[in-house]
Amino acid sequence: MVAKPVFRTCGLTGLKIHDEAEKLIKANAVVAIVVLAIGGLMGLLVALTRWPSVHLLPADLFYLALTAHGIDILIVWCIFFEVALMYFASAILLGSRLAAPKMGWVAFALMVLGAAITNWKVLEGNSSVMMTSYVPMQADPLFYVGLILFAVGALIACFIFLGTLVVAKEEKTYEGSIPLVTFGALVACIIAVYTIASGAIILIPTFLWSIGLISHIDPLMYKVVWWGMGHSSQQINVAAHIAVWYAIAAILFGAKPLSEKVSRMAYLTYVFFLQIASAHHLLVEPGLSSSYKIFNTSYGMYLAVLGSMIHGLTVPGCIEAAQRKKGFNKGLFEWLRKAPWGNPVFSGMFLSLIMFGFLGGISGVTMGVEQINIMIHNTIYVPGHFHGTVAVGTTLAFMAITYFLVPALWQREIIMPGLAKLQPYLFGLGMGVFSLFMMGAGTLGVSRRHWDMAFSDAPHAFSHPPAAYLMMGIVGVSAVIAVIGGALFVVVIVGSVLFGKPIKATAPAPAPSPVASYGSEQHASVPGTFTLALLFLTVFVLYYFVNWKYLASTWLMS
């Protein structure tokens, strides 16, 4: 006997909201933000230790905090929030009931339990193996059990999302094709299923090895399969935060895609090519051939990079087209100047878009060149790059949409609007500078995951150039700024959920009207966005070839 689903109509957006879906979205989002707070604190401790003149933690606690920071932010925070987004993009955007809400709670419980077990083992101090837990280094068996439980929960959530798409289609809650944002979430979900399967294939035998049932795990095989999870999990983030960009453009500007076809094709390249990547982490590994590495690291001839470059044009492009329809037509950039920069939903989203492209995107493609990786592998350039993707890209985009979800789902006003306005700039720009200078220090050879860049206890003497110390100092300062921004986010959101002024359920407002009917040749032209795109391409090309030149100046190897 299934209870009849209960719906309400959102007073802000006119969306039809399924009661059970809403509860699950809230629960997953709340846990995500709690984990972000814990993981962020760990990140602060790591940054304060790598700041040479502070050097806060002793070595054992540093490696412990770094392990916790990686797992909590790269995996737990992102995936909890993505589960909330998947439920939102299916049940809420399609006006449907969520399939199997009870299984949704089972998934939630498994993910919480798994994350708690792994965190407990890491904090206990006997599993400081880093997020990657490369064999033959061994963690406590429960460390792997926690990750496996978490993955099983996430997998169930993926199937609930897919089930909801089926239910909505069957019950005809919408007509035609699913919205672009839901399509993006579907791409994220497909990548997530692949990711979790890779995780299971490697973590289950590793667990059996840790309790002595399997005698040996080959370190190279471990890495190839583990990165099928590790790298692809970050592709879930990319697909999800691009969906968030499109969603925010629609929510704030009523923007519709310049072309459904082009945007969806760009997403499709992710399904085919983005998730094959795992060789990015294996480019200087012995025992793998260059042809495998080249095909894999280029996402199949850079076709997934092509997809991202298309989104790079179409996301700001759809905002420009919508703004121009509203009359912001002066010059190249009036549409952008007159955008709501004081609204954290917009400022967070746009900073995320720009910095993901310029910092995370360009550096990622460049360091993913097989030969250039010789100069980058395992230097602090690598975390510099992925803070340019996961922190200023994914995390900032998720923060931005949270400022919309709180009024829409919790029906509370955002408290401390002044601080909320400032928050995306503090976090985004702090993280941007942080990421840039880590890349700089990495170019000078500073190592990642390393407690002592002065090598005081080493048998030989070696000193990095003073510029490297200066850059690591800047990294420390900007990390503190970013953490203040992150803490503000947690305070404002938790405060709003608990103490925000309730928004009275007024008569349902009409859904924001889509801007006329462009989407084909009738849409406004987007010269401003095209100019930005050309600037991006110029920087990309220059930076790419500068790195080849730099490579050509080092020792010869063959």
Binding site: G445, A458, P459, M557
Partner: protein
């Protein structure tokens, strides 16, 4: 809007704007240029991965290292009195990684090529020669061979840049490159 189903049910047939098509074309050309660069550098460039590697038992590798150290030691260096080895130019040079040291110290001649072997006795380690900024992964059980030609002289640190436990940050070795005689 992007959060509602497309207005045109048959959206696939909507014409695409020229600017979008132009950008897709430019991005595709750039993607293909980037793809061509990697094989091209294998043909024309001088910094490439060797693709030469063998399975080896850690004890067998240790024996090769000991053999080289016995033949070519010219001194010792550092707090741990690590032997300094000067193998002849062009020869096979064995560098060993273990918790937490690089063994031995190598003395190489500038402009000469060596077949450098890298392997670990225990966990994974990261071979990071600074400031030349060459970074290679070192595995237990795999003998990785790279033909390397130092083009600059001086003392170079070998940082371990793959996390290998609590002593990771003390794992620092040395390569000395001297001007050719």
């Amino acid at each position: 809007m992007s959060i509602s189903p497309p207005e045109q049910k048959i959206w696939f047939n909507e014409p695409v704007d020229k600017v979008e098509l132009l950008w897709v074309g430019m991005a595709l050309v750039w993607a293909l240029i980037m793809f061509a660069m990697m094989p091209l550098w294998h043909l024309k460039g001088s910094q490439n991965m060797s693709n030469e590697a063998y399975r080896i038992h850690p004890e067998a590798y240790q024996a090769k290292v000991d053999d080289m150290v016995a033949k070519f030691t010219v001194g010792e260096e550092g707090k741990a009195k690590t032997p300094v080895v000067r193998p002849p130019a062009g020869s096979d040079v064995y560098l060993l990684a273990r918790l937490w040291e690089w063994y031995p110290v190598l003395e190489l001649e500038q402009g000469k090529s060596y077949r450098l072997h890298l392997s670990s006795l225990d966990w994974q380690h990261g071979f990071s020669v600074q400031p030349a900024n060459i970074n290679l992964q070192v595995h237990p059980g795999i003998d990785e061979v790279v033909t390397i030609t130092p083009t600059t002289s001086g003392d170079f640190g070998i940082i371990c840049n793959e996390y290998c436990g609590i002593g990771h940050h003390t794992m620092l070795g040395k390569i000395r490159v001297v001007a050719a005689k």
